[in-house]
């Protein structure tokens, strides 16, 4: 069983986001970079398959050199090898362009399953993983909060509005992961794990290595592009309602009913 986990490095969720001077990117000074939390759930899910029935887990990422640190973290958690596509020509790619790169890289790596987060918590796009499945012409199951691998099929539980759907797919397939830290509870990188990770193979590839031409990706090929960023209007601290408990409750109900008109 070969599992490839797609991993994106993102700013820590505690980061205060500031718009950079160009007006269309974020100011990345002093940002602490982490594994996208949903991708971390995917790593954990892959490692559980490895623990229970044996699998080779490969981490695939695209991005600048700093992403190596996140790949090493996943290797320290227990993944077997890493691949990073680092090529300046990918700069400015839209989701489709990123999917083109990842799909091309996946053609050079054996896989039965591809796992990834259902979205990255920076761009919040919800599309790269699914696009990879489409480009590879394999089925996908999205937003898994539980998985089970039996008889050569993968079964997932997928919460939709008002229901929980259980779906199954034959392999090869791509699964995107939802849920929360509390259900996946991803394992920590242990100290021995960190020592071992340093010796695990990690390939750095360029677009040429995966046979993608620079014209297919990057800003020039983007079908959709970010043109401006704006911060949400600052919220003014409102009114602290004073009085005893009963007065506060009465005033809050009055304000919500008469001023805000929301109840």
């Amino acid at each position: 069983m070969d599992i490839v986990v797609l991993l994106k490095q993102v700013p820590d969720t505690e980061t205060i986001i500031k718009v950079a001077e160009d007006g269309k990117s974020i100011d990345s000074t002093d940002i602490k970079w982490i594994i996208n939390p949903y991708d971390e759930y995917a790593v954990e899910a892959a490692l559980r398959v490895k623990d229970s029935q044996g699998a080779t887990v490969t981490i695939l990422s695209m991005g600048p050199q700093r992403a190596v640190e996140s790949i090493r973290t996943a290797l320290a958690m227990g993944a077997d090898k890493g691949v990073l596509v680092d090529d300046p020509a990918t700069e400015g790619s839209d989701a489709y362009g990123k999917a083109v790169v990842l799909a091309a890289a996946l053609r050079t790596i054996p896989f039965d399953l591809i796992f990834c987060g259902h979205r990255a918590v920076d761009d919040d796009e919800n599309q790269v993983g699914i696009m990879v499945a489409e480009l590879l012409a394999i089925p996908h199951l999205a937003l898994a909060v539980a998985t089970e691998l039996t008889d050569g099929k993968i079964r997932i539980v997928r919460p939709i509005e008002g229901a929980r759907v259980t779906m199954e797919s034959q392999l090869p397939a791509l699964v995107t992961f939802g849920g929360a830290h509390a259900i996946w509870n991803p394992r920590y990188a242990s100290l021995p794990g960190i020592m071992k990770a340093k010796k695990k193979p990690l390939d750095i590839k360029t677009l040429a290595d995966i046979e993608v031409s620079a014209e297919q990706v990057g800003a020039a090929a983007a079908r959709v592009m970010l043109t401006a960023m704006e911060l949400p209007p600052p919220r003014q601290a409102g009114r602290i309602i004073e009085g005893d408990t009963a007065q506060k409750a009465q005033e809050l109900v009055r304000a919500l009913h008469e001023e805000a008109k929301v109840i």
Binding site: P11, T13, E14, T15, I16, I17, V19, P37, A95, Y96, V121, D122, D124, E125, N126, Q127, G129, I130, E134, H140, A142, L143, R155, I160, E161, G162, A163, R164, V165, T166, M167, Q170, A173, G179, A180, H181, A182, I183, R223, V224, M225, T227, M229, E230, P232, R235, A237, G238, R239, I240, I241, A246, K248, A249, L252, V253, L256, A260, V262, I263
Partner: protein, 330 residues
């Protein structure tokens, strides 16, 4: 030559989801700005009766594919059918709902068509004859404006539920229904094993007009009963902060924040939530925010329209009684 706006209507059990009416209304506004027609594609089983109702929201014609093979949403069957109809209609713009199935479908259709997709948009407009979209990034810590490559059609976007105004339905307007001749693939790589309906009648967080959320200050899972009661009275959904979910007090589907749901209700009542940046990102776009916390220094008060500095266990029961009185009087 690309022309017109097309929306994807979503039906469950033979009725449209509310978000489809929002998407139709937004489609109507864009179609009017372009001076072009508005169509809808609707897939499912047993949806023929509901289909003309999209006309209430300005849809002129519905392309309906009603078939037992489409009873449950599966990308394997839905994607080829939607992609084929979109290609034959050749619209300028295709709008999806940014709910769970809509996000799934739109990404795969975009890749199949080699089209650009902006997901979870909160605002759309026409500029120079093309689409422009605003969407939250970093769970709403920042908003991005997106444009599409010139003369590459169609331009795809999905609309975040609860953010685009629904037109006043005009029940005298019915959409024409056409049944295009498309082959539905008998794909068997994926299957729906079971569907477990939530019969509790709870409102989904992403669609709720009012949300009552609890955090670490709730002290334990049993105390959420108090918020459930209040939510019931208000017709609200119950949410939770990451710490309440991590503690195992609430299901992960209730989590609001950067690694949970991004919500945009008219009213968000944060109870015993201090207001970590992760959480503020997910609920900061709520229209009105109420915070109840005994710590006057809690960061949530900097975002709240109305702040109550008090022990929640003392305040919430009294507040609930006041809401009951209000409900009884109106």
């Amino acid at each position: 030559m690309a022309q017109g706006v097309c929306i994807i209507g979503e039906c469950r059990h033979g009725t449209f989801r509310r978000v489809s009416f929002e998407v139709a209304s937004e489609g109507r506004r864009l179609a009017d700005a372009l001076g072009e027609p508005l169509w809808a594609i609707v897939l499912g089983e047993g949806v023929a009766q509901a289909a003309p109702d999209l006309g209430n929201y300005g849809v002129e014609k519905v392309y309906l594919v009603d078939d037992p093979l489409l009873q449950e949403y599966r990308a394997e069957t839905y994607v080829p059918v939607v992609a084929e109809i979109v290609q034959s209609l050749s619209p300028k713009i295709v709008l999806f709902s940014a709910d769970v199935d809509g996000k799934d479908l739109s990404a795969r259709v975009a890749a199949r068509l080699g089209a650009g997709l902006a997901t979870d948009c909160t605002e759309l407009k026409i500029e120079g004859g093309a689409l422009r979209a605003k969407r939250p990034m970093y769970a709403g810590k920042v908003f991005g404006w997106y444009g599409w490559a010139a003369d590459v059609w169609p331009q795809l976007a999905s609309c975040r539920p609860n953010t685009m105004d629904c037109l006043q339905p005009d029940t005298s307007q019915k959409a024409a229904v056409e049944k295009p001749n498309v082959a539905i693939p008998k794909g068997n790589l994926t299957s729906v094993v079971s569907v477990e309906e939530d019969t509790s009648g709870r409102v989904d967080l992403t669609e709720a007009q009012i949300i009552v959320s609890g955090g670490r200050g709730m002290k334990g899972p049993e105390n959420f009963a108090m918020l459930e009661e209040l939510a019931q009275l208000l017709g609200a959904a119950v949410g939770a902060s990451r710490s309440a979910v991590d503690a195992g007090w609430r299901p992960h589907s209730d989590q609001v924040g950067q690694t949970g749901k991004v919500v945009t209700p008219a009213l968000y009542i944060a109870v015993g939530i201090s207001g970590a940046i992760q959480h503020l990102a997910g609920m900061g776009s709520s229209k009105f925010i109420v915070a109840v916390n005994k710590d006057p220094e809690a960061p949530i008060f900097k975002k709240a329209d109305y702040g109550i500095v008090e022990d929640l266990f003392k305040f919430i029961p009294v507040f609930t009684e006041e809401v009951k009185k209000l409900k009884a009087s109106c």
